[in-house]
């Protein structure tokens, strides 16, 4: 699906999650900032893990060699 497209999907999910959290528990500016930080950190961590695994498979130097029994 392409690296950029999926990255945009992650960004969109992050924004939707922050909006949901803001709607569900709106407890003052300091608490909102805290929740926003948590959501952004989680989104960034998840995206990072996905991006690393995706990039590593884009131009592989090793190819899968099937084992004998297949």
């Amino acid at each position: 699906m392409g690296f950029l497209l999926t990255t945009l999907i992650f960004v969109a999910i992050g924004i939707i999650a922050s909006i949901c959290v803001r709607i569900c528990c709106n407890k003052g500016p300091s608490a909102n900032l805290f929740h926003l930080t948590l959501v952004i950190t989680a989104t960034v961590c998840c995206w990072l893990m996905w991006a690393i695994v995706y990039l590593a498979q884009m131009n592989p130097l090793i190819v899968p060699i099937l084992s004998e029994s297949e």
Binding site: L33, C45, M49, I62
Partner: protein, 816 residues
């Protein structure tokens, strides 16, 4: 303290602002005020009487009284345990004062002790009578049978005597006659002896009296309660016939030595019967008395049990109130108490309202005065956590409590800790199992929080939200690694790899080729089980660990920037934050860049070679290892930057600190002495460290040297330390693969239901025991270590102390 710029402050990022307050409380309000403050739980009292010993303090007698009452309550609890009565949870009952409670407890205690003593005496007498009855019965039988034999023998003898009167010699007659008058009276001793000692008893009697006694023993069918020890013992009834006074004393001594209880016995049959009826009557009387006594005792214990919890809580509260009152100091005029303590700034209104309530309730004319003091002492650190964040805050505090108002790593730990755990645990099957387990704990929160759990269960329950987050991230990581109990699935489309040609003959020698776009989400499912799986995965996971590590360490250094900005420490920003960023990123940031470029271009450059020769021979040409244009010049520049960053961190800061110190103390030497004393007064009382007038240049230089060396060497070792993410992830996937293939699949291959069932059971136990328990703990520990050392040593001081307010909820059960 200034705000952190234009951003509003974030919850939990820094400690709540605290203030030192002084309360001046009139004596009649003191007890009530402290009690209400305990209910509120937001004031930490400072001990103003620290030099006094516990016995010199004002309220020592009160505390002793509370201690006595606590002891009596413990005694009641033992009685309740003996009666098998549990204390009811309902706290009903009238409100009583401490004095009334003391009197009541004293009364109940004497009553219970009396009842216990009486019942013991009665029981002792009862057991003795039981034994006596046994002796009477058994010996009665013995005597009766002996009597019958004697009468038959006598009749025979008389018969013989009558028959042989002429033939027998005269002397023999005379001998017989005199023999009857010379008969020494036989005495006897009867009683009970424990069965296991009976043989020894017999032997010693025989030896001591030279065989001149006759012992008859008879065993008692069932065990008898020994009156002395109160336990059931198997016993034998015995009767010893002896002649003479010396033998008698010897027998008595031996009986005593063996713990044999002696009871009197008559050989008269009528008297025996009389004794038996008498004893039986006494026994039934005693039984009823004992039963009535026990009933009464049980009633008393029952009434105690209804109010036990209430009394216990009251005594605990009063004891803590008096301990707190002991920390206050008497004012000179002796009409009020002075308290000093820390409280959060946001709680000021609440505290004032509470104190006003206390004044009103105790009908006092004078109100309590609340005064805010300025102090150089470092305040305690207070984070307002809820049930979700408190677990994470606790694991951060386990390493060190944050200094007052420094950045709290707990904020990021809430996400990064479960994330790093998941990198090491990635398997969505195991993740779902963990998720379901914690869901149980969370859904039954209310019941578990009121119960008392065992040690391990309590830790698991306290960390339930942490484990929940860990499981959610593990499910995500499991989808990325494409592992569910080590089985891959094609959930996001087909694999990107296919055979080179339609015959697939070199699939097992040269391998497949990539024909489509990269697999969209996670690891391609074709890798699992292939021969080149490990080289590929190892390379991927190692590089992932380095990348994640560099990101987290950069976050740490950025947090140190925010700390320096908050504390307005410009020196730290220019001479610590910037060179640290430059050093870390010019080496390991560059390595991360190389990794990403290599992945994007697919070049065959050797990154080890590049990094090592960047240092060894930076001027050499790169040839095959060139990843992008201008790489050689970029490397030279980065090397140069890294090299100047080290003296940048090391040298300027001590000199600047010295200059700063001199500027601050320039005008001070000409202050009048009075002002100087004022400064020293509260400082010495508070024991603060803000009163340093000396600046040790040598120490500062050494400190900075150590810090620099630690950072420089640490940047290499910390980056390498993140490779444990790869190591544990490899271990987890290999273990789960072994359990799946060698247990489950092996059992499946046998075509037998029994072996399949055994295989499933072994698989379940191995998965739960090794993977779900041991691997979870292991990954938890390593993720925690990565946070505590590699992340936190970039910015965290952690030498503060926690806010521990006087609160009735926080007083634990120290007796249980």
């Amino acid at each position: 303290m200034a705000e952190g710029g234009c951003l509003p402050t974030m919850d939990l990022m820094r400690s709540e602002p605290m203030q030192l307050a002084r309360l001046i409380i009139p004596i009649e309000t003191a007890h009530r005020a402290v009690s209400y403050l305990g209910e509120l739980g937001l004031f930490q009292f400072k001990d103003l009487n620290a030099e006094k010993s516990p016995f010199q303090r004002t309220y020592a007698t009160q505390i002793k009284r509370c201690g006595e009452m606590a002891r009596k309550l413990r005694f009641f609890r033992d009685q309740m345990y003996k009666a098998d009565v549990s204390s009811s949870k309902l706290a009903y009952g009238s409100v009583i004062t401490l004095d009334e409670l003391e009197a009541k407890l004293g009364e109940l205690e004497t009553e219970l002790i009396e009842m216990n003593a009486n019942s013991e005496k009665l029981q002792h007498a009862y057991n003795e009578l039981l034994e006596y009855r046994l002796v009477l019965k058994k010996m009665g039988e013995v005597f009766n049978s002996a009597q019958k034999k004697a009468t038959t023998q006598q009749r025979e003898q008389e018969h013989r005597r009558v028959e042989g009167s002429i033939d027998s010699p005269l002397l023999l007659e005379q001998e017989l006659a005199t023999d009857s008058s010379k008969h020494v009276k036989l005495g006897y001793v009867s009683g009970l002896v424990p069965r296991d000692k009976s043989l020894a008893f017999e032997r010693i009697l025989f030896r001591a009296t030279r065989g001149n006694v006759f012992l008859k023993q008879d065993s008692v069918g069932e065990p008898v309660i020994d009156p002395v020890s109160g336990q059931k013992v198997e016993k034998n009834v015995f009767i010893v016939f002896h002649s003479g006074e010396r033998a008698k004393s010897k027998v008595l001594k031996i009986c005593d030595a063996f713990g044999a209880n002696r009871y009197p016995f008559t050989d008269d049959i009528r008297k025996q019967q009389q004794m038996i009826t008498e004893v039986t009557g006494k026994l039934s009387e005693l039984k009823t008395t004992i039963d009535v006594g026990e009933h009464h005792w049980r009633n008393v214990v029952q009434t105690i049990s209804h109010q036990f919890e209430q009394w216990k809580n009251m005594v605990k509260k009063e004891k803590s109130i008096y301990h707190t009152l002991n920390m206050l100091s008497f004012d000179v005029t002796k009409k009020c108490l002075v308290a000093e303590g820390w409280c959060p700034v946001f709680a000021t209104n609440q505290i004032q309202k509470t104190l006003m309530q206390a004044t009103v309730d105790s009908n006092s004319q004078i109100g309590v005065i609340l005064e805010i003091l300025q102090s150089k002492e470092p305040p305690p650190t207070y984070f307002c956590t809820n049930k979700f964040t408190s677990g994470f805050q606790e694991i951060v505090n386990a390493y060190g409590v944050a200094r007052y108002q420094e950045a709290n790593p707990g904020v990021y730990t809430i996400v990064t800790f479960p994330f790093l755990f998941a990198v090491m645990f990635g398997d969505w099957g195991h993740g779902i199992c963990l998720f379901l387990a914690t869901l149980v704990l969370i859904l039954r929160e209310k019941t578990y929080s009121s119960q008392k759990l065992g040690d391990i269960m309590e830790m698991a329950f306290g960390g339930r939200y942490i484990i929940l987050m860990m499981s959610i991230f593990s499910i995500y990581a499991g989808f990325i690694y494409n592992e569910c109990f080590s089985v891959p699935f094609e959930l996001f489309g087909t694999s990107a790899y296919a055979c080179r040609d339609s015959s697939c003959e070199d699939a097992t020698t040269i391998g497949l080729i990539k024909v489509q776009n990269t697999y969209p989400f996670g690891l391609d499912p074709v890798w699992h089980g292939s021969r080149s799986e490990l080289p590929f995965l190892n390379s991927l996971k190692m590089k992932m660990s380095i990348l994640l590590g560099v990101v987290q360490m950069n976050l740490g250094i950025i947090l140190s920037y925010y700390n320096s900005k908050f504390f307005q420490n410009g020196i730290d920003i220019w001479y610590q934050f910037i060179p640290q960023m430059i050093f870390l990123n010019s080496l390991f940031g560059y390595l991360s860049l190389l990794i990403i470029v290599k992945w994007c271009t697919g070049s065959q450059a050797d990154l080890y070679h590049i990094m090592i020769y960047m240092f060894l021979s930076p001027m050499d040409d790169l040839e095959d290892n060139e990843l992008f244009f201008g790489q050689k010049y970029l490397q030279l520049m980065l090397l140069f930057l890294a090299l100047i960053a080290v003296p940048w961190m090391l040298i300027p800061k001590p000199f600047l600190l010295k200059k700063q110190h001199e500027e601050r103390h320039q005008g001070r030497t000409y202050e009048p002495l009075g002002a100087h004393d004022d400064n020293l007064g509260p400082e010495s009382a508070g024991g603060s460290h803000g009163g340093h007038e000396e600046f040790q240049f040598g120490e500062v230089v050494v400190h900075q040297l150590i810090h620099t060396i630690e950072f420089v060497l640490g940047s290499v070792s910390n980056t390498a330390s993140y490779l444990r993410l790869w190591a544990l992830s490899l271990a987890h996937s290999e273990l789960s693969k072994v359990f799946y293939e060698k247990v489950l699949m092996l059992a499946w291959g046998y075509e037998s239901v029994v072996i399949l069932v055994i295989g499933i059971i072994v698989f379940v136990f191995a998965t739960v025991g090794v993977l779900l328990v041991m691997e979870t703990l292991s990954a938890f520990l390593h993720a925690l270590r990565l946070h505590w050392v590699e992340f936190q040593n970039k910015f965290y001081e952690g030498n503060g102390y926690s806010f521990y307010p006087f609160s009735f909820d926080l007083i634990g059960d120290d007796e249980e």
